[in-house]
Amino acid sequence: MIRLQVCNACKSTHYPERDICPSCWRDTLDWQQVSPLGRLTTSTVLHTSVKPEWADKLPLQLGLVKLDAGPNILTFLSASLNTGTLVTLTFNDGVFTAKETL
């Protein structure tokens, strides 16, 4: 499971962090465990970064994942994956990584 904000009033799930619920405008967002499952909708191999601290980690596999829980998440990929692959997200050191769901 991963932790995302879920609205206690309308049950919608949100990412990135919001301050009020963008679906119903109530102040009822709560961090909850949600399903880490989703589908890769597009990907890229990043060869340049605007920050020098990334230079020796390039190239990086990135993708956009549509979570079953709702939101889109820009995430690292554990490997080169095809669009449409069913993936599972993990959250470590402040970032998400997606790997193929087995």
Binding site: V45, T48, S49, L64, N72, L74
Partner: protein
């Protein structure tokens, strides 16, 4: 439908020549736009009673603090926050202020500085979502976001890199005639295709070069423009939209698709009547989407459209006639003004580069504020030569 803009016009298009890097403040670049507006129009700080400012690198300053900085005492100010759409969103507000009598002459200016490392600072302070959900993933910035979008667009509509290359190559040809363009060398399709990968499928010539610079124009009543002997353009229609299609998984359409019919209805003209088109081109794919969403071609068919038409200034579909940002450089928020400023020059017969012959109508569109997965703001206007 929005009310017409009556006799409100745009005049005095100015471009402060861009520099790759600058240690000067944004205030300098914006100030240079004002001095060029004065040179072009004869209107100075005593005449300007409205100020609209668009800039990412103003730091602690604002349109309000700049009034003292620039010796202005306006009765109307505005600050644009829409980046690549700001040239048109600034126009929409300024034109209504002039139409309603809240200002007589509004100076709309956009500019940014670019010290070495400045682009990284700009991204760090861009938005909460970019900081939280994009930059921690390798800090690719807009390159990463647009790589994801471009790959999905290619997969869905069958576009190939050479299709995007046609747009980039034709804009380079336009830029060679435009004195302010940062890129001065011809670009062949082979070079475009063989350039280094930035973020697949984006390569070097799909990306803009951040630089320092400024753009500006004046908004006033037609009779004022005539009194000062200024060539002008009329505003046939405008539109803007933010955070459209929020539930789309990947951004394959812009908010322009929501409002295109209303735009053309207000203009009273079809897209085929446009003699020139300026789209916001921070990456070719987003120009493709603007052309589709505004109805110049069907959705997903920009690939065929760019192959069927000649996008150079002397071609049958003059597009980004200054070379756009891809060849001209991206001076921060001024990139959102480049299209409208160039369109006003073309429609007043005062092109700095090659002039589009007999240009009567022009379409300008803008797109901005890439947050983490999508660009949020878009805008468009239809302009008519006052000649």
């Amino acid at each position: 439908m929005s009310m017409p803009f009556d006799d409100v016009v745009i005049a005095a298009p100015v471009s402060v020549p861009y520099q790759r890097f600058s240690d000067k403040r944004a205030n300098y670049w914006l100030g240079r736009a004002l001095s060029m507006l004065r040179e072009t129009s004869g209107m100075g700080p005593k005449d300007i009673d409205g100020l609209s400012v668009s800039s990412f690198t103003l730091g602690p300053d604002s349109a309000a603090s700049l009034t003292q900085h620039f010796g202005l005492s306006p009765r109307w100010i505005s600050q644009e926050v829409t980046g690549g759409a700001s040239g048109i969103t600034a126009l929409r507000k300024a034109a209504r202020a002039v139409q309603m009598g809240d200002a007589n002459i509004v100076a709309c200016i956009a500019g940014d500085t670019n010290p070495k490392g400045g682009f990284t600072d700009l991204l760090d302070s861009f938005s909460t979502d970019m900081s939280a959900a994009s930059l921690p993933y390798g800090a690719g910035g807009p390159n990463a976001s647009f790589a994801l979008i471009t790959k999905a667009y290619m997969a869905k509509y069958g576009a190939i890199r050479a299709d995007f290359g046609l747009l980039a190559v034709s804009q380079r040809e336009n830029a060679l005639a435009y004195p302010n363009a940062i890129m001065k060398k011809p670009l062949a399709l082979e070079q475009y295709l063989n350039s280094k990968t930035i973020a697949s499928p984006l390569h070097l010539f799909d990306c803009v070069m951040p630089c320092a610079g400024a753009e500006g124009y004046l908004v006033m009543q037609e009779k004022t423009a005539r009194e000062y002997g200024l060539p002008f353009v009329k505003i046939r229609a405008t539109t803007e939209r933010h955070n459209a299609y929020a539930s789309d998984n990947v951004q394959l359409r812009t908010g322009l698709a929501v409002d295109a019919d209303a735009l053309w209805a207000q203009a009273g003209l079809p897209p085929t009547d446009m003699n020139l088109v300026q789209t916001y081109d921070d990456y070719p794919v987003i120009s493709f989407m603007q052309l589709e969403d505004l109805g110049f071609c069907d959705k997903g068919k920009a690939k065929e459209f760019v192959n069927r038409h000649d996008f150079t200034t002397s071609g049958d579909f003059p597009h980004n006639t200054s070379g756009g940002q891809l060849s001209g450089g991206q001076a921060g928020a001024a990139g959102g003004f480049l299209g409208i400023v160039e369109a006003v020059r073309q429609l007043t017969g005062t092109a700095l580069g090659m002039q589009v012959e007999n240009a009567k109508f022009g379409l300008v569109s803008g797109f901005g504020i890439i947050n983490y997965d999508k660009g949020l703001s878009c805008a468009a206007c239809v302009l008519e030569s006052g000649q």
